[in-house]
Amino acid sequence: MTAPGPASAQAMPCNAPRWRVRFLHAWFALAASLCAPQAGAQVLLVLSDESAGYQAVAEEVRSGLKQSRDGKLRVDAAVASRMADADTASLDSYELVVTIGLAAAQQTLSREKDLPTPPRTLCLLIPRQSFERLLPSAGRARDSRVSAVFIDQPLSRQMDLLRVALPEKKRVGVILGPSSLDLESELARQAREHTLALTVARITERAGLYAALQNVLPASDLLLMLPDPLVSNADTVYGLLLTTYREQLPVIGFSEGLLNAGALLSLYSTAHQQGRQGAEIAREMLARAGSLPEPQYPKYFTVRVNVSVARSLGLHLPAEEALAAALSGHVESERAPDAAGKPATLGDAP
């Protein structure tokens, strides 16, 4: 269920004709913009590629900016992989560059490196860790000229969800891989704040996954999945879900894909929700012609329950609406921890 927000996001069906229109739209804009940047071009959307998910975010940003500057705001679009070196200079002419996806952020920030005053850049659809790793490698300081809406949900919100949805399940199992290892101390702190017992296993190669599960599952009431390419990928999800289901334990996912595959619950932001938040930030910035806000977690999110799995596990969960409403009450308190000020003293997870 979608969390309530100030202006409800339109659910946009991704049917084929619609997709095609959007695709062409972006393509024309790309051709028009990068070949000959024109005066009045103020916002550039950079998509990682042409796939529908990125198009949906771009469309949402574009429609959110329709009313800006009395409807005269010009929004161009480009595809990261097709940007040529010659286009780098043209980036300069935009007030705001919105990147959609990690590849787009990488391409854009690395090109901006060569500019004397890089444009303000807002990264959408990017995991927090990826963004934080990208900044130093792109030679950018964490300043008000670059910001992001992360695709991942704050750990505190995920833990809130556990407490609201499954109050009797207090033992949380997590498997961390190389990409998610950084989260361990924050995970431990959040678990403690939510009075949850945490069991963590760390893996460095895929082969270690099942041994890790054997260690974690007996001591856990549920398995909380955190995004990590080594832990959750097309090869592992099958075994992960089957193994936990055989132990009669629920899996808490972070995407619609995991929910459909067999996770009990998933907390995630849709492409539309990401685009909507991106548009709001862009609108605000353009109106004030000011700085970008701090990088932030998604304000809009979706909670979904896999009813078949819940029934099979004999779990009685609150309705999706109630879960989303309960979580949205906590949104204010969630701020992305400062990269430098990340608590480093709490590495006491078992």
């Binding site: 990682s48 998910g53 996806g101 990690l102 590849a103 659809l125 990017i126 995991p127 860790q129 990826s130 695709i151 991942d152 009797e168 399940k169 190389p178 990409s179 998610s180 895929r206 082969a207 270690g208 099942y210 041994a211 007996p218 001591a219 995004p227 990590d228 390419p229 080594l230 959750s232 990928n233 097309a234 090869d235 999800v237 099958y238 075994g239 879900l241 089957l242 193994t243 289901y245 055989r246 972070f254 995407s255 894909g257 995991l258 459909n260 595959a261 067999g262 995630y268 492409a271 896999n306 009813v307 078949s308 799995v309 029934r311 099979s312 596990l313 004999g314 009685h316």
Partner: protein, 644 residues
């Protein structure tokens, strides 16, 4: 050819996964996955099943300390486990609500969905299971008749062994055990795989010398190979094959039953293809083949001086082929249904019958609807239509209403009728049909199937905070047309086939049974079960009314100390009873089993050393017959596992 295809696909998948970037990006959040927990894989929760289900999981198997599969059922409410040494060596007799005897079974027993009831007399080849207890993921015991959902032969109850998926057991493991009573067990297993293709190999050996005072040693080698292949989006393929090979010491010493060794060989192959259309709809097709051969050719004692004895062939062979299809549908969250069908052929050879046994062909169609009539009411309705070339066509319907009284408390009212088709031997040749006590010789095919009409009320409660659950069943079952072999009850020697078979008896079974499970933490477990039952029967041809103990109590407790020590205790008590068939009265007894284990780490792996004691108090109660005297058994087990 199939190997080449598999290897090719395996290589492609491995390459693809290796090529994938290991950097976290939005792809992890946007990726679509095939439905893993599809409708055909999700099972009904204990509070929503049409019959009570007891699940024995790996933790319980381990804590029970059992090395004999049959032992695991002592903790299931309503079950009685006994051992008989008769004709072919030692064999377990496992029954639910009595009505059990040697060679026969009114239970349906399956491994991963394939029946292991022997086609000759429907008995279960308990000693021919081609793996070790630790290869089991869980055992689901459906306590009640359920042809509609569990298939052919699900008469009194159904036991389904579900073995571990290949990917649940990665790495290499070796286990050895030795103890008194000639116990020598060992197993080695290896699991590996990549890119959605996983496999496991298990080879092993188990042997013991059976009861102390008779020659009934048993020895088996076993092998199982399994692969699970996730083929693209919605398809998976399970392939497994295996077998056992070994011998039993047999023969009680009568003229036609000299001491000897009989050989047993089994083999099976199974393929199951599952396809999910979406999260709620899917199907599977399964084909399996099972082969059983008992070799038992011997010379009887010479009765007439000077006559040259003719060898007797007491063996048998069975080949079963079974093809099954099932499809799951859903019409919204409140209505789903499943239908399917199967065809089976059983080919049986029993030389002693001096006749060619006609193949048994069984076709069945089944359907089952689960309708959530309201938030509190769930209705399960189903039926099986079975047609076979012995007893014709018959219908087994099943209806259950589950009423959720409160969160985590459910009342279940169930009504079901089930069938047990006469076996080929019961039906064959000179076997007769007639009113009780007056057997007459008749043509084959006149036997009726046994039927049961079961009425039960159950209460299922869960305390999720405490990790506790309770399941109580009150039952009143009528069993009709019980088939019995007519023959003089004798202790001296094996009766040779053929004998007469009739639909000779009826029984009414009433009682209450329940199970309480409490797992307050990963380190503690308590499972308690109790059964009180009464069987009423005219006992025209057998001792049905005494065929189950009035009272059975079982307690299993386990605890982990300081992360490395495990201790568990089983206490079992049952009142006196006398099974059917060539049984003798079995007195009441109490048995205590203990297991202590220590975990350790060595080099790159984990190990465990454990000591198990069965019948700690060394109570010399008799099992099925006076020769079958229980005694204390002690064994040590060493296990070592190397993770990949």
């Amino acid at each position: 050819m199939r190997c080449a295809v598999l290897v090719g696909a395996f290589c492609c998948l491995a390459t693809a996964s290796a090529a994938r970037a290991q950097e976290l990006s939005e792809h992890e959040f946007l990726a679509d996955f095939p439905t893993v927990l599809s409708a055909s894989r999700l099972r009904q929760n204990a509070s929503e099943t049409p019959q009570p289900v007891t699940v024995i999981d790996q933790a319980m198997i381990k804590a029970s300390g059992a090395r004999e599969f049959a032992e695991l059922f002592r903790l299931v409410p309503g079950f009685t486990v006994s051992y008989v040494t008769y004709v072919k060596g030692m064999q377990p007799v496992v029954t639910y609500h009595g009505l059990g005897r040697e060679f026969f079974s009114r239970l349906q027993v399956m491994i991963d969905g394939r029946s292991i009831n022997n086609a000759t007399l429907a008995g279960v080849d308990w000693s021919e299971i081609p793996f070790a207890p630790e290869d089991i993921d869980r055992i689901e015991v459906v306590r009640g008749p359920s042809n509609a959902t569990q298939g052919i032969g699900a008469f009194l109850a159904t036991i389904n062994f579900i073995t571990k998926y290949s990917l649940q057991e990665r790495g290499a493991e070796a286990v050895v055990a030795a103890g008194n009573d000639g116990i020598v067990d060992g197993a080695a297993r290896f699991g590996g795989g990549s890119g959605g293709f996983d496999y496991r190999l298990v080879v092993g050996h188990r042997a013991d010398s059976g009861f102390d005072n008779i020659e009934d040693s048993r020895s088996r080698n076993f092998l199982t190979a399994r692969s699970d292949w996730q083929i693209g989006a919605g398809d998976s393929l399970l392939l497994q094959a295996g077998g056992t090979n070994g011998s039993n010491d047999a023969g009680l010493g009568g003229a036609n039953d000299p001491p000897r060794s009989v050989d047993l060989k089994t083999g099976y192959a199974q393929a199951k293809w599952e396809h999910s259309f979406d999260a709620d709809e899917g199907m599977y097709v399964q084909l399996y083949y099972y082969h059983f051969r008992l070799t038992d050719v011997f010379l009887p004692d010479q009765l007439l001086p000077g006559a040259s004895p003719l060898p007797i062939d007491g063996g048998s062979a069975v080949r079963r082929t079974d093809l099954e299809l099932q499809q799951n549908f859903s019409a919204g969250p409140n209505l789903r249904w499943v239908w399917g069908g199967s065809v089976r052929e059983d080919l049986t050879e029993v030389p002693l019958l001096f006749t060619t046994i006609k193949p048994l062909h069984i076709e069945r169609l089944f359907g089952h609807v689960e309708w959530r009539a309201s938030d509190k009411v769930l209705i399960n309705a189903g039926a099986m239509v079975e047609n076979n070339n012995i007893s014709g066509t018959d219908v087994a319907p099943e209806l259950a209403l589950n009423y959720q009284m409160a969160t985590d408390q459910t009342l279940r009212f169930s009504l079901s009728r089930a069938l047990r088709t006469p076996t080929v031997i019961e039906n064959q040749g000179q076997f007769a049909v007639g009113p009780p006590g007056t057997p007459r010789y008749g043509p084959p095919g006149d036997l009726l199937p046994e039927t049961i009409l079961s009425r039960a009320i159950s209460y299922v409660a869960e305390w999720p905070e405490q990790h506790a659950s309770l399941d109580i069943k009150l039952f009143d079952d009528d069993v009709h047309d019980l088939i019995d072999l007519i023959g003089a009850r004798t202790d001296s020697a094996a009766e040779t086939f053929p004998q007469n078979a009739v639909n000779g008896d009826a029984a009414r079974e009433r009682g209450i049974e329940g199970q309480f499970t409490w797992r307050p933490s990963a380190d503690n477990m308590l499972v308690a079960s109790a059964t009180f039952q009464d069987i009423a029967s005219a006992d025209n041809l057998d001792t049905y009314s005494t065929s189950a103990p009035h009272t059975t109590l079982h307690l299993l407790m386990s605890h982990r100390f300081g992360d490395v020590w495990d201790a568990s205790i089983n206490v079992h008590n049952q009142s006196a009873f006398r099974a059917d068939g060539y049984s003798e009265p079995q007195r009441a007894f109490t048995r205590v089993d203990l297991r202590v284990a220590r975990q350790f780490s060595f080099a790159r792996g984990d190990g465990e050393i454990s000591a198990s004691v069965e019948n700690l108090l060394d109570d010399h109660y008799t099992e099925y017959r006076h020769d079958d005297v229980a005694s204390r058994r002690i064994w040590l087990t060493l296990r070592y596992k190397l993770w990949p």
